[in-house]
Every structure is written in structure tokens, then in C-alpha cells.
């Protein structure tokens, strides 16, 4: 704890130093433009949020496609349009949400003072994303006997995802909170008729939605943390150089 606190302090101090030193002696030969961009706080934030946004949009598109029922014809003429079959605003919304989540997670970590140390590797993140897609796949493709079973299975899978890749209390709390919020938002949308599901099974919405949301939050948080870690690393290296 104290270690990380000092690291954080280091971080802030060095960023201040860096700004000062950057103004004083601009041409540092060993620091390329890339490093300086990365270490610049706001630029870094923008880059990270852009990456998270694109990831979110991509995942939204793909998972939406996954939800398209399979008994479509072989080569329907409107395949491409089916990718965008849902409302146009859904992917951007997902992207924005994922950007927010991905930035929120490391932020809360640093606020709480307990940086996430568990499985901080890209391979682990990739695994997490794969499992998330798999959960979506299962929810779309596997024929469950009833909706309760489906919801329970998905809930177990989501919890398993959290336990496997996150294991932090803050992550769990944030995930549950955001999932509930998102479900509520969806509920409101559906209630107002903006959005509709083909076969709502529980209060106008699909009952597995919270689980999917939770898993998605965990996944995006994982990615966000990894990206933040990268920034942290670069800052650390920079302090070593200084």
C-alpha cells in the first residue's frame, strides 16, 4: 500500500517535473515524440478513451450480429445491412459506455489506493475478452430449457469471469452497479418504446441482460486497466531515465 502510494506520489511529482522540464529544456534527444505523447497526461487519456471506444463499438457490432437468429437464409441480400440492423445509436452508446468504464476502473483503483495486480498481462486480457464473447455466444446460440436456466448459467459464468480475471472488490462492486444501471436504462428505453426485444421474458427485457452487462463491464475494466498500466509503466521508465 505504502509502496503504491509512493509510486503514485512519484507519478504526480514526475509529471509535474516533466511539465516543468519540458518547458525548460525541450529538445531531449532520447525521448521521441511517441514517448512524449504517451507521457502527456491528456493525450494519453484521449488515446486510451479512443481505443476503448473503438473496442466497445466493435464488440457491440459483433455481439449484435451474434444475436441475429440463425435461421436466416443462406446468402440473404441484406447481410451487410443486418450488421447495422439495430438502431444506429446502439454501437456508439456501447463505445462511450466502454470508454467510460475503461477509464473509470483504473481511476477508482488509484483512488482506492489498491492498484490491480492480478494477472496484468495482455494475454490474460485477451482471454477475458474471449470468454466474454463466449458468454455472448452461449447466450445467443445455446438452446436453454427456460429463461431461468439461461439467466442462472450466465450469472455463474459472469461471476466466474470476474473471479478468474479480476478478483478485486472494487471491480465487482463497480460491475454490479454499472450492470444494474445499464439494465435500468435499457428498461426505460424499452418501456418508452425506443427499443424493443424480439422476445422479452421478464418485464419487457431479456433476463440475462444484467449478466451480459456485468461481464462486459468486467472485460472493459480489464482492458482499461491494462492500458492504464502501460501509461504507468512508461512514466516509471521515464523517472528512471530522469
Amino acid at each position: 500500500m505504502s509502496l503504491t502510494l509512493t509510486a503514485m506520489a512519484d507519478n504526480t511529482v514526475t509529471s509535474g517535473q516533466q511539465q516543468r522540464s519540458g518547458s525548460e529544456q525541450l529538445p531531449r534527444p532520447f525521448r521521441g515524440p511517441y514517448i512524449s505523447v504517451i507521457t502527456n497526461r491528456t493525450t494519453n487519456l484521449v488515446i486510451r478513451s479512443a481505443m476503448l471506444f473503438s473496442v466497445g463499438v466493435f464488440l457491440a457490432l459483433v455481439l449484435n450480429l451474434l444475436q441475429v437468429q440463425r435461421n436466416v437464409t443462406l446468402f440473404p441480400p441484406d447481410v451487410i445491412s443486418s450488421i447495422f440492423s439495430s438502431a444506429w445509436w446502439v454501437p456508439p452508446c456501447c463505445g462511450t459506455a466502454s470508454a467510460v468504464i475503461g477509464l473509470l476502473y483504473p481511476c477508482i483503483d488509484s483512488r482506492l489506493g489498491e492498484p490491480h495486480k492480478f494477472k496484468r498481462e495482455w494475454s490474460s486480457v485477451m482471454r477475458c475478452v474471449a470468454v466474454f464473447v463466449g458468454i455472448n455466444h452461449a447466450s445467443a446460440k445455446v438452446d436453454f430449457a427456460n429463461n431461468v436456466q439461461l439467466s442462472l448459467t450466465l450469472a455463474a459464468l459472469s461471476i466466474g469471469l470476474w473471479w478468474t480475471f479480476d478478483r478485486s472488490r472494487s471491480g465487482f462492486g463497480l460491475g454490479v452497479g454499472i450492470a444494474l444501471l445499464a439494465t435500468l436504462a435499457t428498461q426505460l428505453l424499452v418501456y418508452n418504446g425506443v427499443f424493443q426485444y424480439t422476445s422479452p421474458d421478464f418485464l419487457y427485457i431479456r433476463s440475462w441482460l444484467p449478466c451480459i452487462f456485468f461481464a462486459g463491464v468486467i472485460t472493459m475494466g480489464n482492458i482499461g486497466r491494462q492500458l492504464a498500466l502501460y501509461e504507468y509503466k512508461v512514466v516509471q521508465e521515464k523517472t528512471h531515465q530522469d
Partner: protein, 1316 residues
């Protein structure tokens, strides 16, 4: 394989390593005794057991890599064997045939007794397909007909047939049924198919026929001026693989329809396809009977009792492809990021490949095992595969690699593997258990798909664990083994880049430098525990790795797999080829009858088919349908003679290929037809009923009637010569073959290019290209390191009769002394033997004296030993001891005692005896002998003449040695006087004698130490005598007999000689040169820089050797080592101490204590580096200036036999035949080299970075910085048994080593070039 010693050491080392705090994570198995068993909880005990089990397993894997890998591969293959029964991945339809008679719609429920029914055969099909296959021809063909007539009237008949079918009504007790009620009702076409709206039925029965082109209206058909254009109008442009509209409507492949201007067979084939929604056997039966009755097909013997159910697999649309591709991308990213973490191994790619192979084959094994136990996978393999991989994961593999890599690198490979395994055993087991638990939970969700997934995952996990433990661990061990040297290569140059700790002689005053803070820690050090002779199994692995066999096999396998896929795919090559062949084959139309069509024209009926003859031939007369009678063989028999041109009579034949004509269609035919109406066939099936054959035989009149006015515009087809059919057939076949060949070549080229691009040539190894060249010749070169191209051939210096004992050199000359006491001086440059001491050239002349002397001896001793008659030569030898004691003529003690039995077959040497003794002065006995001589040459000659050399070839030196040993007392000296006349030698002798020294060669005692400086050979004998010989002349310069105790070591520096004696005393001698000419030449360059220029003593000089000081009790025990350099004399003794003396005043400077055993090796050089090694295996580095110990390392089991220092490292060898290279500043062992047994002591440093070691019959050159074997030079043909025991490095980068009784002079010019 391990000897006891090695094993003990290994255990000790592993214990040491295990005690390191770094590894304290888990309790090592060897540390079990440290913890009390009763206090351990179950958890700890379990943990320890697991750890120990993993440890042993790691040892096993690393010890026997090849058998384990073979075993693993075998088990993988065994487990994957059931996969052969699974269909290859693809989307081709599968078929199931049932009988028509007892057909009932299969129920939805799965019955227990499915039999051979496939599991998709449940419930009603999507549709029943009833095809009416129409074959029509205008017959007989009239020459007045135009090409369009071939198909216009046959096609025109489709409308009447359609009418017939549509209006067919079957009425029986069950009611009235019509087609309208039974057929599959379709609604709108898909919105995107507006273009096809006019030709495809909508809102009604799905009934397609060529009539659809004309909206099923005869009027439109009749008024169509160009039928083909209408047909072509709807064809899609460009390439298309799926069914075209033409195929759909005609129901037969376009080429088979015969609707073209160039239809040579003049038979038109098309189908009317009726798609039925429900099956009514009676209606269909009545329709069939009706059509057959209207248009009978006489010679048609098609089977009509089978219906075929076709199941279509899932089609992957783009909508499903996108998520799939996404998952695969994520999977690859996962694998990429995972394998990127593999570090500190020799070949990252190899290990990554091994990891992926582990996961993939575990999945395959899982599927195979599940199939073996009866579970057929129902899930789409491609879909769940990425998830399975992710669930199983590469984590364990990475953890294993990391753990093994982080073990102390100086351990042996198998211990590293074992330790790495046992370190991670607990976490691996824990993870495994967790995953199994999660999967079990998943299993109890009771969702079939998830259950199946979980089942696969469980089996996959277990097999993955198995593969990790056996396959990957073994691969890792091999990799680690390979890594060690390569790692050194990578890392040491970086350190070499640091400022050298010792810039040569400039800093000679401050040696050794204070241990600087080293930039590397122990873990970063990369020693190479290296076995020179690797076991064969590793060589196999290296061979595999070097030739990239695995990659190649995988590549070939992929190509084969792709080939199989392409071939067996329903839309693939096989179908295409089959279609090509059947279409072009002349047998194609005769079908089951096996009759070529032109045979049908022949007037003679084939006799092999009496039934058809009977049924067809009599048919025409009684049948009331005259049109139909003109068909078939009978008609042709009748018409044939009238028209010479065979194609004039169109043949309508029915073959077995017509039975299931739909097979020739694309397998997408039916799915695409249904997909137009938004009906998917994916994972469903259709039933195809047996076709109804309809034969239409039209008269030319009909054709003329239906002809459109514009039809005649088309030119008649060019007459085809008959030959062209065959030619065309051949050409097509050739075309196909050529195409296939070209495609194959292209594929190979493409793969080759890919291979070249993706696999760099020097992948993972150094210098394959010429490393492969002579791998066989270099047994030491197991790592594929390539020797320099130029071959080094050793120069053999022969001449010694017995094993060489002492070697000395001053750079230009080389002196060697064999066990027989013979000293030979060689030119170190050319290898010529310059001198032999005792001198060969004097033998003949001196024989008089010799034998005279012998005679005298005989006279003296004849009475005492009369039995030794066989060879006179050895008699004195036998009595030598007593005589020498008595008479003061020392004789050789080393000569073998007389063995009369052995000498009975010796040649008669009596002719050699010169009995002319007159020239001998009578007083010879009183004059001490000087300069030995040898009867060896004479005696040898006699031996050669006598017989082929007897098995006891060691005898000549033995039997001849007495000869020189007995006479030299007077003979040589006399001879010397006589031959040299007024040469300085007598003067020297006189001076020497005047000085009171007895200059007398001592042939009795053996030479224990020898040194060579300038022209002087200093030889220390076991009798305590110090002799100085002139190396060029071979004459004894002076002799000092002050000491009694044997000289164990000699040092000759400048003009001083230091002799260490057996009793521990140290004598300092001064060599004084009295130069009559006043010349003091300096000869030769200062060589290596470490040696002072040696004064050249010419033979004219008068040399005397005087004892200047004798330190009586230099050591308590015998002095074992004596080294002198830089004005210091360093002695090491059995009393565990090292003493440093100043050479000038023989003052003892320091007594260095620190060894726990006798000193066995000392190194000191010009830069005053002093290192000592003892019997305790310790090596000490001393500061000569202060007498303090700089470092103290233990490196050897048993004595340290040899020590050499370079600027940056110390090289030591021990009795354990291990050569260790230590970092001089830090005292850390860099790596070690295992030597051949008995060759441990032989090593030398040629330059800063070139080490030479002796082996069994060879010498090896090593790059000191990297530990690479540069080259191995074989000294002789027979390399077995003879080890190189001594090795001397000369100034001119040549090395001299003894090789039995021979000397080998090896120049290393190539190495020098490389170093420059």
C-alpha cells in the same frame, strides 16, 4: 550414464541450489528432512508430495527426452485415431437411402433402435423432390433439319407434359388428390430476386421446368425466335459456383441438356421438378404410371425403389462468419500475447510452437477420446474451438517455462527442469483443480450444449495436463540444453564491451584488480554446463531441430490435408473430374449396359444380353405404339444401313447415371432453389424420390411443324470428324492433368516462398550451412557449431620410443624427454629433429668404446651372472645397480630388469660388436663420461633385419638402453675428444673439472624435470643431478651434483635455474656463460611478451652452473610445483603452502597459506598474476605484492591439475577432467567443459580468447569468451585410448602435445587469422 562421482556432485549441487533463498517458495523435496513431519499439516504434506512427484517427473523427462517424446506422440496419435471416422470438416451434404416401398415419415422422437439411421433423419423432410426426367430426340434425323430442330420440338413437349402433371388427379377410397394439394406451396420470392420473378413460380406449387422460361405458355415458346437467347438471358455473368437458373430449371447440368446448336447426340434432356410438401405414395404411383404409359421408355431399367434423403449441414453465412472470425482473432491475439512472454529460451518460436501444439493436440485428443467412448460431437467444432483453447489456456505452459528458466543457470539441465517443475507444481495443481471444478459446475447446468462443451473441456484439460507434463517439459528441457551456449554468445560480448579490468602489462603492478562491483548477478551469469559428447538421443533431437523436420512435416501434412479437402469436397475436384470423365468418356451414355453408342449402330446385336434382345427385338411388331418402336436398338438396326453417318440416328438410352441425375448437380442446387423462397435447408433434409423417366421420340415432321421461321438462319454445325471425339476426350483429360500439375507446382512454389519468407535461414542456430558439412567428422561438435573452413593438420614428431614425459620449449626449440631417458630437440617451426641426446650421430664411432667397455664388464661380472647369454646388451642392465654403486658408474635405474625368457627370440647382435679396442685408452674408467650415446639405432637395425617386429615392441628401447647405459663412462667422452679434436668442449670439460665439478651424464636416473632456455636444456634428474645440455650440439655442458634428493621441478629464468628437490629444499643455480668470442646474441623476438629474451648460448660458450644458494627447508614436504616469472619464484608444496621467493637473492618473500591440501598447480606470469590450486579442489588467487589472498573458489572434485590465467579469466582443470573457466575479477564460474578421462590437465591458452584442450587423441580449440568449440584436431588415425596428457603452447601460436610416444605439433594459423 552418470558416473558415481558425477552423480554425487550433481546431488550436492542440487542441494546447494535448493538451499538458495530464491527458491524458497516451495519446500524442495530434498529439504524434507528439515521440517518435522509430525508438525506438517495435511496441506503441507500434500504440497510436498506433489512437489516431490513433480521433481522426479522433471528428472525423468529431462533424462530421457526422446523416448518420452516418442511415447507422447504415439499416445497423441492413438487418441486422435478415432477422429478418422469423423467426417472431414466441410459443408457438403450427407445422404441416407431408404426403400420406397415401406417408407414412412420418420418420427421426431429418437427411437432406441436407430440402427444405421443417421441422427438427422428425424421428422418429415423439408420437401420431397419428384423429378420427371425427359429425354427427347427427333428420330430419325433428317438431313433437312436444322440444328434448332434438335431441341425446339423436344422442349415444346414440356408444356403438354406439364399440363398432364398439373391435371393429374388420383382418386381412390381415400378421396381425390391432385398435385395442387400435395405440392409445396411457395409464396413470394426474396425481395432481392426481382429479376427472377418472371421465370420462377410464385404463390403456388413449386414446380420448375424449362417451361418456366416462357412462363409455362406454349404460345410464348412458339413465338420465341431464339430459344437459346432466352435461356442465356437469365444466366449470371461472370464466375459462379452455385446453381444457376438454367440448372434449376432444366434439372440437369447445363452441358447435359443438349440444348445447343452443337448437340451431336441430338438428344435433349431436361427434368420437370416437382417439389412436394407431403408424401402420398398412391398419388405419385399413379402419376408415374400415367407418364410411363403415355411416354414409355422401353429400354429403361432404372431402379425405382430407393429414395435418397439428403441432409444439408449448416451453412455459415456472413452474419455468422463475423463473430466467428472475431473469436479467432481474439484467440490468435491471446496466443500471441501468451507466447510473447516466453523468454530466456533458445528458440522462442520453437517453444511457442510447442505450446500451441500442446494445446491443439490436447483438444484433438479430447475429441478423439470422446468419440472413442461413443460421444459424437454435435457442436460445431469450429465455433467452440476458440473457447476451448481459451478455457484450457496456455498459462500452465508459460508458468512452467518461466519457472524453469528462473532456476539457477549453473545447474544441470535435468535438475533445472526438475526444480522448475517442482516449484510450480502446487500452483499448477491448484489451477487445474479450480478449472475442473468450474467445468464440473458447468456440467451441472444440465444444458446439453454446455454439458457437451464441458465434457470436451474436461477431457481436454486432462490431456493437456498430460501433454504439458510429458511433451512440453521434454521440449523445454531440450531447449534449455540448447540454450546454454547460445545464451553465452548473447550475453558475454556485452560484458566484454566493458572496460577491460586489466589492460595488459601496463597495470602489472596492481594485479589482480580489486573485485569491482560486477554488473551482473549470479542469475545473469550464463555458464554452460556442457557435455562434450552428447548422447545419441540428443543428437537426434538436434538433427530434427537443425533440419526443421517437424515444421516440414507439418507443412506437408497441411498440403495433404488441403489436397484431401479439395478432392473430397462435394463441389471439389473429385466431382469435377468425375463429371469431366463421365461426360467425355465414350462409355458415358451407355451407362450400365456398357455399350459404346456407336456399337448400337452396328447391325449385329451384342450377344451378351439375350434378355434385352428378346425384349427389344420382338417388341416392335406387337406394340401398338409405332413411334416408340423406332427407338432403341431395333430402330438403329433398321435405319443404320440407310444413313451412313452414325449420328444421324439419335439414341435415347437410359443408364444408371440417369437414376440419380441430380447427383451431377451442384450440391447447392437444392439449397439455392429453396433459398429463393426463404426456406433454409441448413441442418435439415430433403427426400429425393426416384425419377420418372419419360422418353419422347419425335418425328421429323413434328420438328418441322414446330419450327420457328428464324430457326433456319443458324448454320448447320460443322461436321465433326469422328476421331475428334477421342481426341477431345484425351485433350480434356490432358487438360485436367496439366491443370492439376500446374496447380500443384504453383502450390509448391507458393509454399516454398512462404517458407523462405517466414523461416529465416539461420533460424535458431549458428551457421547451418557449413555446420552440416562435416558433422560426422567432428564428434565433439554436437551443437552444430561449425569449425573454421581451413583444416588444421597436426605435424607428427616421431622418434621417441616410449611415452613422452617431459616437454620444454623456449619458443624456437622444443625439447622432449621420454620415459627411456632420451631427450630430443626439435625445431618448433619445422618439426625437424635437431638433436638426439644421447647423440645418434656418434653411435657408430663410439661403438668401440662401448663394447670395449662392455667387454670389461663382462669380464667383471661374467662370473656372477653367466646365465644371461642371449643378448649381451642387457646384461649390464641387470647388474647395473650394484655396479654403479660399487664403481661409481651410475647406471640407469629405470631400465627394466632382465627378463631372459623374453629375449630368447632376439636377433644375434654379435656381428655388431666391434672388438677393436686398441684405440681405447686404458684409463678410460677414471674419466667421467660425457655425452651419452645410443645403441638403439644399431640394435634397431638388427631387429629390422631379423624378423618382423615382435609383439613386444616396447622391448627395443628396453634392451637397447642398457647399451648406452653401460658404456658411456668413457666411450662418449673419448669419442668426443677424438672427434672434436680441439673443439671447445674439452676445454669446457677441463674448466668444469677444474672447477671441481664432475661433468658426467647420468643415464641411470630418470629425468624428472626439464627446462629449455636459449640453447640450453636443463634437466633435473631423480638422482638430484642437474644437467645442462647444449640443445643444438647435443653435448653436455655442465652437470651439478650438489644435491642428492631428486629434482622435482625446475625453473629456468634468465641465467638462473631454480631446482626444487624432493626433500623440500630449493636450490638456486646461476648459469655463467663464458663467451670466448664475447658475443652474446639475442635470438628471436620476445615472443608472447611474457618471456624475457633468452640469451642464446652458442656451443662455443663455456657454461658453468654454480649453486648460489640452497634453501634447505623451503617446505616441510616435497615441493610439487615450481614456477618462476617476473623475478619471482613460486613454489607449492605438499605442506599446503605456497612460497614466493625473489629470484635475485633467493629471499623468501611470503608464505601463502590458505589451501586445505597440497598444492598441485601454480600459475604466475609476467604480470605477476599468481594463482594456485590444491588437492582440495580450491583455487586461490593471490596478490603477489602483498601476499594477500584475493579470491578463493572451489571448483573441482579432487586435485586441481592445471591453472592458466588470462586477462579476464582463470582456467583450471582438475582430476575430475573438468575444465572450469572463472571470471577473474569476481571469482564466478562462467562455464565448464567436460574433458575426456585422463586429459584434464592438458590445457593451454593461445591468446586472450583461445583455449586449447587435449582430448582422447585430439585437441580442441575453444573460444574462451563464448565457450564455443571452434575446432577439433585429431592427432592420429587411432584416436582411441591415447589421451593428450601434456600440452605446451609455443610462441608462434603453435601447440605441442604428447600423443603417446609421439609429439604433435599443431599450428593454428586459421585461428590466428580469425583473431586478428
Amino acid at each position: 550414464m552418470l558416473s558415481n562421482w558425477e552423480f554425487l556432485a550433481v546431488v550436492k549441487r542440487s542441494l546447494d541450489a535448493l538451499r538458495r533463498p530464491v527458491l524458497g517458495r516451495t519446500a524442495p523435496p530434498h529439504g524434507r528432512q528439515l521440517t518435522l513431519p509430525d508438525r506438517m499439516t495435511l496441506h503441507e504434506r500434500l504440497r510436498e508430495k506433489i512437489s516431490a512427484a513433480f521433481y522426479h517427473h522433471g528428472l525423468l523427462c529431462a533424462s530421457y527426452p526422446v523416448p518420452i517424446i516418442l511415447f507422447t506422440s504415439a499416445s497423441i496419435l492413438t487418441c486422435c485415431y478415432p477422429l478418422l471416422r469423423l467426417p472431414l470438416p466441410g459443408t457438403g451434404p450427407v445422404e441416407f437411402t431408404t426403400g420406397v416401398r415401406d417408407y414412412t415419415v420418420p418420427s421426431h422422437e429418437t427411437n432406441g433402435d436407430l440402427g444405421e439411421r443417421p441422427d438427422w433423419y428425424r421428422g418429415p423432410p423439408v420437401a420431397y423432390i419428384q423429378q420427371v426426367l425427359v429425354k427427347a430426340a427427333v428420330s430419325p434425323w433428317d438431313n433437312s433439319l436444322v440444328p434448332v430442330d434438335v431441341f425446339r420440338s423436344p422442349l415444346g413437349h414440356v408444356f403438354s407434359l406439364l399440363e398432364e402433371i398439373r391435371n393429374h388427379v388420383h382418386s381412390d377410397s381415400g378421396g381425390v388428390r391432385s398435385l395442387e394439394a400435395l405440392c409445396l406451396q411457395v409464396t413470394d420470392l426474396l425481395p432481392g430476386l426481382r429479376r427472377m420473378q418472371p421465370v420462377l413460380p410464385e404463390h403456388g406449387c413449386l414446380l420448375v421446368s424449362p417451361g418456366n422460361y416462357w412462363q409455362n405458355q406454349r404460345e410464348l415458346f412458339d413465338s420465341d425466335p431464339d430459344l437459346l437467347k432466352t435461356v442465356q438471358k437469365h444466366e449470371p455473368k461472370g464466375l459462379h459456383t452455385s446453381a444457376t437458373l438454367r440448372d434449376l430449371l432444366f434439372g440437369v447440368p447445363g452441358k447435359h441438356t443438349g440444348v445447343s446448336h452443337y448437340n451431336r447426340k441430338k438428344v435433349v434432356t431436361y427434368t420437370i421438378t416437382i417439389v412436394l410438401g407431403s408424401y402420398d405414395a398412391r398419388f405419385l404411383g399413379s402419376l408415374r404410371a400415367r407418364l410411363k404409359q403415355l411416354h414409355p421408355s422401353i429400354n429403361c431399367s432404372l431402379r425405382e425403389d430407393h429414395m435418397v434423403h439428403i441432409h444439408f449441414k449448416e451453412e455459415i453465412g456472413i452474419a455468422e462468419l463475423v463473430p466467428l472470425v472475431t473469436t479467432y482473432i481474439i484467440l490468435f491475439a491471446y496466443i500471441y500475447f501468451s507466447t510473447r512472454k516466453i523468454d530466456m529460451v533458445k528458440s522462442k518460436w520453437g517453444l511457442a510452437l510447442a505450446a500451441v501444439v500442446t494445446v491443439l493436440s490436447s483438444l484433438l485428443m479430447s475429441v478423439g477420446l470422446c468419440t472413442l467412448f461413443g460421444l459424437t460431437p454435435t457442436l460445431n467444432g469450429g465455433e467452440i474451438f476458440p473457447y476451448l483453447v481459451v478455457v484450457i489456456g496456455l498459462e500452465n505452459v508459460l508458468v512452467l517455462t518461466k519457472s524453469v528458466v528462473s532456476t539457477p543457470v549453473d545447474l544441470e539441465v535435468k535438475l533445472r527442469i526438475a526444480q522448475g517443475l517442482s516449484n510450480e507444481s502446487w500452483s499448477i495443481m491448484k489451477n487445474m483443480a479450480t478449472e475442473l471444478c468450474i467445468i464440473l459446475i458447468g456440467y451441472f447446468t444440465l444444458v446439453p450444449a454446455i454439458q457437451e462443451f464441458c465434457l470436451f473441456a474436461v477431457v481436454g484439460l486432462v490431456s493437456d495436463f498430460f501433454l504439458q507434463m510429458f511433451f512440453f517439459t521434454t521440449v523445454l528441457s531440450i531447449d534449455i540444453r540448447r540454450m546454454e551456449l547460445a545464451d553465452l554468445n548473447r550475453r558475454l560480448p556485452a560484458e566484454a564491451g566493458l572496460p577491460p579490468s586489466k589492460p595488459g602489462p601496463l597495470r602489472s603492478r596492481e594485479v589482480p584488480p580489486p573485485p569491482r562491483p560486477s554488473p551482473h548477478t549470479i542469475t545473469l551469469q550464463t555458464p554452460a554446463f556442457r557435455n562434450l559428447r552428447l548422447p545419441k538421443r540428443l543428437r537426434v533431437i538436434y538433427f530434427l531441430a537443425r533440419t526443421r523436420l517437424a515444421q516440414r512435416i507439418i507443412m506437408v501434412g497441411t498440403v495433404i490435408w488441403i489436397g484431401i479437402l479439395v478432392y473430397t469436397d462435394p463441389a471439389g475436384l473429385r466431382t469435377y473430374l468425375a463429371a469431366q470423365v463421365t461426360e467425355q468418356s465414350p462409355l458415358g451414355d451407355s451407362g450400365g449396359g456398357g455399350l459404346p453408342p456407336h456399337l448400337g449402330v452396328a447391325p449385329v446385336m451384342p450377344g451378351g444380353d439375350p434378355a434385352s434382345t428378346l425384349s427389344v427385338l420382338p417388341a416392335p411388331e406387337p406394340t401398338p405404339l409405332p413411334e416408340n418402336q423406332s427407338q432403341g436398338h431395333h430402330g438403329s438396326a433398321r435405319v443404320g444401313p440407310q444413313h451412313q453417318a452414325p449420328p444421324a440416328v439419335p439414341q435415347i438410352t437410359w443408364g444408371s447415371e440417369d437414376e440419380e441425375g441430380w447427383r451431377r448437380l451442384s450440391f447447392r442446387h437444392w439449397p439455392s432453389l429453396f433459398s429463393y423462397y426463404n426456406i433454409t435447408l441448413a441442418k435439415r433434409y430433403i427426400s429425393i424420390l426416384p425419377i420418372i423417366p419419360v422418353t419422347l421420340q419425335l418425328t421429323p415432321q413434328e420438328a418441322l411443324e414446330t419450327r420457328h421461321p428464324q430457326d433456319t438462319r443458324h448454320p448447320p454445325p460443322p461436321p465433326f470428324p469422328k476421331v475428334s471425339t477421342d481426341l477431345q476426350t484425351d485433350l480434356t483429360l490432358y487438360k485436367v492433368a496439366a491443370l492439376g500439375l500446374a496447380a500443384g507446382v504453383l502450390l509448391v512454389l507458393l509454399l516454398f516462398c512462404l517458407y523462405r519468407v517466414l523461416c529465416p535461414r539461420n533460424y535458431g542456430q549458428n551457421g547451418v550451412s557449413h555446420g552440416r558439412r562435416r558433422r560426422g567428422e567432428l564428434p565433439c561438435d554436437d551443437y552444430g557449431y561449425s569449425p573454421p573452413v581451413s583444416e588444421i593438420s597436426p605435424l607428427q614428431l616421431r622418434g621417441h620410443n616410449m611415452d613422452i614425459e617431459c616437454l620444454a620449449s623456449d619458443g624456437m626449440l622444443l625439447a622432449s624427454c621420454c620415459l627411456a631417458g632420451q631427450i630430443r630437440v626439435w625445431d618448433a617451426q619445422t618439426g625437424d629433429c635437431l638433436t638426439v641426446i644421447p647423440k645418434q650421430g656418434l653411435r657408430r664411432n663410439s661403438s668401440n668404446g662401448c663394447w670395449e667397455q662392455r667387454d670389461g664388464w663382462e669380464a667383471v661380472s661374467g662370473a656372477t651372472e653367466p646365465e644371461s647369454l642371449g643378448c649381451e646388451g642387457h646384461n649390464p642392465c641387470a647388474r647395473g645397480n650394484s655396479l654403479s654403486e660399487d664403481e661409481g658408474f651410475p647406471l640407469r635405474r629405470r631400465t627394466a630388469p632382465a627378463r631372459p625368457a623374453l629375449f630368447t627370440d632376439q636377433p644375434d647382435l654379435t656381428p655388431l660388436i666391434d672388438t677393436n679396442f686398441t684405440s681405447q685408452p686404458p684409463s678410460h674408467l677414471s674419466i667421467p663420461p660425457r655425452g651419452g650415446f645410443d645403441f638403439g639405432g644399431l640394435v634397431e637395425r638388427a631387429y629390422m633385419e631379423h624378423e618382423p617386429p615382435s609383439p613386444s615392441t616396447c622391448l627395443p628401447p628396453c634392451s637397447s638402453s642398457p647399451a648406452p647405459s653401460s658404456p658411456p663412462q668413457s666411450g662418449p667422452y673419448l669419442q668426443m675428444r677424438r672427434s672434436l679434436g680441439d673443439s671447445p668442449a674439452p676445454q669446457a670439460q677441463e674448466r668444469a673439472s677444474a672447477a671441481g665439478a664432475h661433468v658426467m651424464a647420468d643415464w641411470d636416473s630418470s629425468v624428472w624435470a626439464m627446462e629449455l632456455r636459449g640453447n640450453l636444456i636443463a634437466a633435473g634428474r631423480s638422482s638430484g643431478k642437474l644437467e645442462l645440455w647444449d640443445a643444438v650440439e647435443g653435448s653436455l655442458c655442465c652437470c651439478n651434483e650438489d644435491g642428492i634428493s631428486g629434482i622435482t621441478a625446475l625453473a629456468f629464468l634468465n641465467n638462473r635455474i631454480v631446482a626444487a628437490r624432493l626433500n623440500g629444499s630449493l636450490d638456486f643455480f646461476t648459469v655463467e656463460v663464458n663467451k670466448p668470442l664475447g658475443l652474446l646474441q639475442y635470438r628471436g623476438p620476445p615472443g608472447h611478451g611474457s618471456m624475457p629474451p633468452s640469451p642464446c648460448y652458442s656451443s662455443e660458450d663455456v657454461i658453468s652452473c654454480q649453486l648460489t644458494r640452497s634453501v634447505q627447508c623451503a617446505h616441510q614436504k616435497p615441493i610439487t610445483v615450481l614456477r618462476a616469472a617476473a623475478g619471482r619464484v613460486v613454489t607449492g608444496s605438499q605442506d599446503h603452502t605456497v612460497r614466493v621467493y625473489r629470484l635475485e637473492d633467493s629471499c623468501c618473500l611470503y608464505t601463502l597459506q590458505g589451501h586445505a591440501g597440497g598444492i598441485t598447480a601454480i600459475y604466475i606470469d609476467q604480470t605477476m598474476v599468481l594463482a594456485s590450486g590444491g588437492q582440495d579442489g580450491a583455487i586461490c588467487l593471490w596478490d603477489v605484492l602483498t601476499g594477500s589472498r584475493v579470491s578463493h573458489v572451489y571448483g573441482h572434485r579432487g586435485d586441481v591439475t592445471s591453472l592458466v590465467c588470462t586477462n579476464c579469466c582463470i582456467i583450471s582443470s582438475g582430476l575430475d577432467d573438468l575444465i572450469c573457466i572463472w571470471d577473474r575479477s569476481t571469482g564466478i564460474k562462467l562455464y565448464s567443459i567436460q574433458q575426456d578421462v585422463g586429459c584434464g590437465a592438458s590445457l593451454g591458452v593461445i591468446s586472450e580468447s583461445l583455449l586449447v584442450t587435449g582430448g582422447q587423441g585430439c585437441v580442441s580449440f575453444w573460444d574462451l569468451n563464448f565457450g564455443d568449440l571452434l575446432q577439433t584436431v585429431y592427432l592420429g588415425q587411432s584416436s582411441d585410448g591415447q589421451g593428450v596428457r601434456q600440452l605446451l603452447v609455443l610462441d608462434n601460436a603453435a601447440i605441442v602435445c604428447d600423443f603417446g610416444s609421439e609429439l604433435s605439433l599443431v599450428y593454428v594459423p586459421s585461428v590466428l587469422e580469425k583473431l586478428d
